[in-house]
Subunit: 151 residues, 2 copies
């Protein structure tokens, strides 16, 4: 077992951009549809970007193991979601992406069969792929701190 | 149905930071463990950050609907993952987060019962919650473009 804990946190205030701290980094979250002045990528764009980044890193790792030279990898992701559930409009559709479609284009001299093996290993070892494709347990704690009264 | 398509793409090259384009935004992806010089948040940090941002936006939306005043929301997320699968070490553990734990602390005068109702609606309408907690279909296309030969 080689357990790693990843933590992020943010403190949101009305009419300010929500900024999430991840170690020394700050990640600004946008609400482009409702508050265009607080412009930044929106949450689901970060999900797809993180997924692309994860496929890229695992792709590089597995290419080394298989001794494949890959000059570059083009990764495109798209997801369709019905915003009705999110907005509170009655619907039978799910809240999130209905499907995530990925196109991976490696520039490599390796034969197609080798690249097919490569991508199937990448899929099986990509943490984000696992968390989206399979059920991920989520434990949510609500802490209620009453607003201190001003006397 | 109010379908929205979200797209991102990136082109990775060896020893360069992988930058994902999301509309007009660029999201740099880090590989902090293996290439500290290409420093940026790592993919799974973006997943948790996007999740925090999503909870925050839906939280604000639902608070308005329930007519609750929330002065600020503190959101903390942590996830534990075993990197063995990702690194290719034989393991029976999954590749991704084993659990994602969230602590939401709204600063509000609203009674606890009302805030419990609020957070349960937020959970059910948060797109990222849905995609992580439930199965999300993933369609991966491998495009093989042979490296053009230099004659």
């Amino acid at each position: 077992m080689s357990l790693v804990t990843i933590k992020v946190s943010g403190n949101s205030k009305p009419n300010e951009q929500f900024v999430v701290k991840a170690g020394a980094f700050k990640i600004g979250i946008g609400e482009n549809q409702t508050k265009p002045e607080l412009n930044a990528p929106c949450p689901v764009e970060y999900i797809l970007a993180g997924f692309a980044g994860c496929l890229n890193i695992v792709g590089g790792l597995v290419a080394k193991e298989l001794n494949i030279e890959i000059k570059s990898i083009q990764i495109e992701l798209s997801g369709v979601l019905d915003v009705d559930k999110y907005l509170g409009t009655p619907t039978l559709e799910r809240a999130g992406f209905q499907t995530i479609e990925i196109t991976v284009t490696p520039i490599s001299d390796a034969p197609r069969e080798v690249l097919k093996k490569w991508i199937s290993i990448v899929e099986s070892r990509c943490p984000v792929y696992d968390n989206l494709f399979n059920h991920t347990p989520i434990l949510l704690n609500l802490v209620h701190e009453l607003q201190p009264e001003v006397v």
